[in-house]
Symmetry: C2
Subunit: 206 residues, 2 copies
DNA sequence: TCGATAGTAGAACGGTCAGTACAAATAAGG
DNA sequence: CCTTATTTGTACTGACCGTTCTACTATCGA
């Protein structure tokens, strides 16, 4: 065959992801991406087709590397082991929120990488793109699903709609915290603390 | 003096506000603003100095025309009249959330004017502008203050930090709903319903 | 009525954007 | 080694950006 690729795709996508994360899709220029990845336009266009193609790869990377690893603890872990232990589920919820608090408090202090790559993409022209909106909504649904699974384990006797409401509440608090993270870190952390406190209580409020 | 202005400033600012609201600051072009306001660049620059000047006027208009009228019911209304009636305060909270639900459900169905003008401005380059971040944080603080006032009236005996937590929770739910409104209207409404339900309950959860 | 003054129109500016064309460079297979 | 497929560097395209400039127009005070 021909010449071999001189760069590691995952590394390049990761670097591009951080730029999109920092600036948002619209405000990120190909110059920014060239600088961050160390590649020229030719290589980027050859490998990803377009700015949008690289963005899609970055989103996928974001979900796989950032979002889902943190969500993994909520969805059950090794199912049969402690899958039905309410205390373990509550602990998983609390540790998730603690991790998020830590991430919001520390991440992006240096590189300006604050909030959520997907949520900030809802602004601007990208927000009017049906594919982008769909991706963000899928992300939201993934959050709700993970929280539902955890809450169901944490509150074995709870009614279905009570579990749903609780999951929606947690999702909303996370969304709000990630939105506020770009504006006021302390308030974002305080918002997550609300979720952490709620997760510690064995019985949910109204 | 000289020639008189041929347009109504408030009308023009309102039209510009709706464009910024729809597209966000970065994605809004002067062409969009010309089209929406019916004015030429010259008039816009003469009256507002720059795109940013017009945006600042639009934000001020947004706060005065959209945000604060809705918040007015929470901060006390005619103070001494029912200023100390917990039931009235709870009703004010519930009606605020109902109004927000209605706005999220209906507003922008036609014109794409969804979510919050200020929150969507945190994305992109505008989000790295200290002035913009400050404006958004001031907006958040205004929400917290209004909710604190209402909750304090709704729960006369509640401890200060319980009131604060409650106000922060309401703020987070509103922020989340306005963020999600651009992605999934139904979920945004459901999120506000959580707040509405919580406002109806006389005793707050943990 | 007649400047002085403020508002408007439209073109033009330099700069940046995403995307492309094309040739040079490089590595694999024969 | 030599062909061939693929990657990469460079320069360019046409479009659009926010801003500015100049010429023109309308209005008010004198």
């Amino acid at each position: 065959m021909g010449r071999t690729q001189s760069f590691d795709t995952a590394t390049v996508v990761g670097a591009a992801r951080d730029v999109f994360w920092r600036l948002g899709y619209d405000a990120t220029s190909l110059g920014d991406l060239e600088r961050a990845t160390g590649l020229g336009r030719s290589s980027l266009y050859h490998a990803f087709g377009s700015k949008r193609g690289l963005f899609d790869a970055a989103v996928e990377n974001y979900l796989d590397e950032i979002v889902r690893p943190r969500l993994a603890g909520l969805t059950g872990g090794d199912a049969s082991a402690d899958g039905d232990d309410p205390a373990a589920a509550r602990a998983a919820l609390r540790s998730y929120f603690a991790e998020m608090s830590d991430a919001v408090a520390t991440l992006g202090h240096d590189d300006g990488r604050a909030g959520c790559l997907l949520l900030i993409s809802t602004a601007g022209q990208a927000g009017h793109d049906a594919m982008v909106r769909g991706a963000v909504d899928a992300y939201r649904a993934e959050l709700v699903a993970a929280f539902s699974a955890a809450v169901r384990r944490a509150l074995p006797g709870a009614a279905t709609d009570a579990v749903e409401r609780r999951a929606r509440l947690y999702t909303a608090l996370v969304v709000a915290a990630l939105t506020l993270a770009r504006v006021n870190r302390e308030e974002a952390v305080a918002t997550l603390r609300l979720a952490e406190d709620a997760a510690g209580a064995p019985v949910p409020g109204p």
